[in-house]
Symmetry: C2
Subunit: 281 residues, 2 copies
Amino acid sequence: MAAKLGILAGGGPLPGNLIEACKSSGREYFVLAFEGQADPKIIGEAPQAWVRLGAVEEAIGRLRAEQCEELVLAGPVKRPSLADLRPDRRAARFLARGLLSKGDNGLLGAVVRSLEEEEGFRVVGADTILADLRAVAGPFGRYTPGTDDEADIARAVDVVYHMGRLDIGQAVVIRQGIVVGVEAAEGTEALLQRCGELRGERQGGVLVKLPKPGQEKRADLPTIGPQTVAGAADAGLAGIVVAAGATLVIDPTRVIADADATGLFVVGITPGDYRSDYDTV
Amino acid sequence: MAAKLGILAGGGPLPGNLIEACKSSGREYFVLAFEGQADPKIIGEAPQAWVRLGAVEEAIGRLRAEQCEELVLAGPVKRPSLADLRPDRRAARFLARGLLSKGDNGLLGAVVRSLEEEEGFRVVGADTILADLRAVAGPFGRYTPGTDDEADIARAVDVVYHMGRLDIGQAVVIRQGIVVGVEAAEGTEALLQRCGELRGERQGGVLVKLPKPGQEKRADLPTIGPQTVAGAADAGLAGIVVAAGATLVIDPTRVIADADATGLFVVGITPGDYRSDYDTV
């Protein structure tokens, strides 16, 4: 029987998927929800405690008291201002390493290492628990990329590779060879919205969202869902490309139905097929 | 006496600066303004003709009829849809090379080469005519970057270098080590606006806007002006960094006054001092 799971809940729907997975497999679990980040409606009636992001001692204490052995980080966490963070001693020690000025991958990688090496938890990726939500290879629905799209995809993989190496973001929109937008702190939704505003009469284009090269997969795994499909459709894009096996697809049935209904392709690729040095395993 | 100058006018105030410079030096000139791009208020009463971007034969014909020998490209040009472009035979021949799917540097570099090698004009950079508007080295006004800003600037130069090599954009906003936003097709103004919306309570940060490595300097030279200072101030940034000698500063007196009034630094650097392979000459 699997050890009790501590779900460290950030924003978005992912914590809810993990709660459901534990319930249906009969696994014990406890939700540690971050104030101002997690959505109470998503957490619902699950066994839970709410802590500030900066209250690391309290968080660790609750997870130990609940006898959680395995932890999973779920959902995006907005960076608070230092004033909002109000770090306790443990958080301050952590921050003293200058980690708040790292990109997401630098910061989250350090969080995972600290939880394992200093605190003795095991940290697993959300995708190991939600294996059904892992992006498959090839087309998800009925549409596939055309020749023009393939050229945009190849260029996009190259751009995301460099963005990722610089720890900037995971997503880019390319239309007819032109980089319309690059994701940084604003997130994929805001990226898609501005690409829609910029489209003029130009048609098509692709959203390519991939893990950063060598990314810590147990935190911040690229995620898409029905909202991504809706945003891409509104932006007039031809399709969405993700990394097979290294992306979570929230509500895949609806993703496929919505993509088919709006004429979008959604495709899982292996970035290493485009650039041999693009390691996403 | 200098040859008659053909001013190929895109958007923004730059064509007006060139008209003024010709008037005050007594140089003959003619404005070829692109429909839907140039601003009639900026062009004013100058000798002028308006053509569609796709009407290359007409444009070249007018420039020859006006006996322009030297040309200058001034102001940004939005990429039209193919339907809006309605390319004539000469434009179509040009487009057949797949240039519409190049980034700005690829496209504009090809335009400059074609005007010189195929059409026999000399093309000069706007900065050679507006030498007074070239960014100086060091601080423009009374404020200078602090230690935190210096770290953000160093990281930003690295990011812009990679963005530029991929022909994506010229500008990035970094705040406390985090890449808040990267400029692609949306332009610097839209970049600053979304960085303002994302700032929360975080303070400071820098806008770094530099030419792409090896960029064709006779087109699309990075430009800042009072609008950039206002946008950076609204976004809560600490300052603006440009490449000394390789940036045009529209209305430098007002840029300095506005920066001093809002507490921003504006500084000209040499990107090669940060990365020896960053060639901006």
